[in-house]
């Protein structure tokens, strides 16, 4: 009982109360829209001023999966995300290494250029991409949509990896070589394990970016390459709110899974920057 009393006392502490209030507001602000969608996707005949749906059903999910051809759409989304992650990581490893570990003249300018696709309005950028892609016949191809995604995925990857590589302590690598390890063994035993959290976080960031990407996909997709966010958007136009909500829930699941993975597998505090020597 004593601990409970102490706990309540601490909770009533004015400062903490304020902090908890803010936290609660933030929590509600983030979760309420999700809650709405969740209820909508399982509710039937939910109209007017009712707080909760009068009936619950999973029909909308069945509808979503059959009518909107979810397996196909999910496959597109994952294939595109996979290609985008692959290309972004391949670009980002050497670029991040150069930016993080070497003295390069005009490093800031290079960094700004890399970040440019993220700075300008996506729709403007997407329009330009679309015009080029029409000429190159890249519209409605998995690789085309993925390449469009790379423009906004790679900056993340480069940013994360350059700071990971920058945090890699040269003297630790020297220590390995004094201990008798040649370059190859130093790489596998020391360098790789030390940068792995950074590479993982870069992959997770780029994956979620591509997975969630809407604007660029909208301007480059076609019947064969429709992705989940675009499909959800189209469902809104078709007017079935319940089905759209169900689609949204399906869209969210992999993101939640990734978030869960980040929390469990890789401690987030270690992600950006990797290890910092001692």
């Amino acid at each position: 009982m004593k601990t409970l009393r102490q706990y309540l006392k601490a909770l009533l502490n004015a400062k903490k109360l304020l902090a908890y209030t803010f936290l609660l507001c933030f929590f509600l602000w983030v979760t309420t829209p999700f809650l709405m969608i969740l209820l909508k996707s399982v509710g039937r005949n939910w109209f007017g001023k009712l707080w909760l749906p009068p009936e619950f059903t999973l029909d909308w999910y069945t509808w979503a999966i059959t009518v909107t051809n979810i397996p196909e759409v999910l496959r597109n989304t994952l294939v595109i995300a996979g290609i985008a992650v692959g290309i972004s990581t391949l670009i980002a490893i050497p670029t991040g290494w150069a930016l993080g570990r070497r003295r390069i003249p005009g490093k800031e300018a290079i960094m700004s250029t890399i970040l440019l696709p993220r700075m300008i309005p996506p729709i403007a950028y997407a329009l330009g991409v679309a015009q080029i892609f029409y000429r190159l016949h890249l519209i409605d191809t998995h690789i085309g949509v993925a390449i469009a995604h790379v423009a906004i995925c790679a900056p993340y990857a480069i940013l994360v990896l350059s700071s990971t590589f920058e945090g890699l302590d040269e003297r630790v690598l020297e220590a390995a070589s004094v201990c008798g390890a040649n370059n190859l063994r130093t790489f596998f035993h020391i360098t790789l394990p030390l940068v792995m959290p950074g590479i993982l976080s870069s992959i997770i960031f780029t994956f979620t970016t591509s997975y969630n990407e809407f604007t660029l996909t909208l301007m480059t997709y076609g019947p064969k390459t429709i992705t989940l966010p675009v499909r959800t958007y189209l469902a809104v136009g078709e007017g079935y709110w319940e089905v759209t909500s169900a689609l949204s829930m399906i869209l969210i699941i992999p993101s939640l899974f990734v978030l869960f993975m980040i929390q469990r597998q890789v401690q987030p505090e270690k992600l950006v920057g990797g290890f910092k020597g001692v």
Partner: protein, 362 residues
């Protein structure tokens, strides 16, 4: 078998226009602990990196155990090294850190475990095998570094300012521990530091470096009592440098003219009458007495310009006809500012230093 474990022969290393090592020749005996001492940028770390192979000298050779290793890469030089920032592998436990050199050498598991256990026992870190470096204090981390360097019994132990990142008390403790370990294992060690006290306390011999050159190599006592250059004298302990001119060179003594007074000092080679030199003496070797009666040999007259109480001693600045001599006394006798005193420069404590001598050892 060569007497020397490590030899740097006429090593020159340049970084662009900067000459980091200027024809450095250093020979380190088997089983001895030699310190490379000097201010930052003096080239001591460059010299160490030439031994490890992280630097390839532009000129000169590096020999370890009689073998020319100038072109041998670091990982095949069979060295143990302790780093200033510890440089432990952050993703490995203490056990894995210490095991790393053995694992690289392909030893079997049982053998490895036994050797790691021995090494950890050596540095008194038993029971910490499963800890990660970040869970340890600075002193413990450096002990892990030491264990990792010693675990496979290398011929040579290199220590690059290993105590600089530790606090003062721990530093002193670790100093003795390192010295003790080095003697017990009989390993040849090269210790880089900018801390003269550390160098004097630890070393069998000290190499004082400045501006890429070795200024002097000798035992701590030699370095302290017979500094070869002004830099060495100045870098180690407190010094008085009194401008003087040689007026007589005899077999038993050299007579100097200091502000018109005659001071006899022990003889040295390579001085001649008329040469301008510096008379060097440690402030705590200078004696003071009130100016009463006649002056005795090797005394000059002066007045106290400034006195400072330092707890266990007094620090005086004595003005001798425009030349300031610093004196530290432990005696009970106090002198007041402006008081006339006789400054005694004891014959056996005086040294002649040639100001023109920049690099003593070439």
């Amino acid at each position: 078998m060569s007497d020397w474990m490590i030899e740097l022969v006429d090593v020159t290393k340049r970084y662009g226009n900067i000459v980091a090592n200027d024809h450095v020749t250093l020979r380190i005996r088997r089983g001895e602990l030699m310190t490379l001492l000097g201010p930052s940028g003096c080239g001591k770390t460059t010299a160490l990196r030439c031994i490890t192979g992280q630097n390839i000298p532009d000129e000169g050779r590096v020999l370890i155990d009689g073998k020319d290793v100038t072109d041998v890469p670091t990982h095949r030089r069979e060295l143990g090294m302790v780093f200033q920032n510890f440089a432990l592998f952050p993703h490995m436990t203490v056990f894995e850190n210490v095991e790393f050199p053995l694992m690289i050498r392909g030893m079997n598991k049982a053998e490895r475990a036994a050797m790691v256990k021995d090494a950890l026992k050596l540095v008194r870190l038993e029971g910490y095998e499963k800890h990660y470096p970040r869970q340890l204090s600075g002193g413990q981390q450096q002990r892990v570094g030491l264990a990792r360097a010693l675990v496979y019994r290398p011929k040579v132990l290199l220590l690059d300012e290993p105590l600089s990142n530790l606090d003062a008390k721990l530093r002193e403790e670790m100093r003795f521990e390192i010295k003790d370990l080095q003697k017990r294992l009989g390993i040849t060690a090269v210790y880089v530091t900018h801390d003269q006290e550390e160098a004097l306390a630890l070393s069998d011999r000290v190499a004082v470096m400045n501006k890429g050159c070795v200024q002097q190599v000798g035992t701590p006592a030699e370095i302290y009592d017979h500094p070869a250059t002004k830099f060495v004298a100045d870098f180690i302990g407190l010094s008085d440098f009194i401008p003087a001119k040689v007026v007589a060179v005899e077999s038993e003594r050299v007579v100097l003219d200091v502000q018109g007074e005659r001071i006899a000092v022990p003889p040295v080679e390579s001085v001649h009458v008329g040469l301008d030199v510096l008379l060097f003496i440690r402030p705590n070797d200078v004696r003071l007495r009130a100016a009463e009666g006649d002056r005795r040999p090797n005394e000059v007259a002066g007045t106290i310009a400034k006195s400072t109480y330092l707890g266990d001693k007094f620090d005086y600045r004595v003005d001798v006809q425009g030349v300031e001599i610093r004196v530290q006394t432990h005696g009970a006798e106090r002198f007041e500012n402006g008081q006339a005193v006789y400054v005694h420069l004891p014959y056996e404590r005086c040294r002649i230093i040639l100001e023109s001598l920049i690099c003593a050892v070439r």
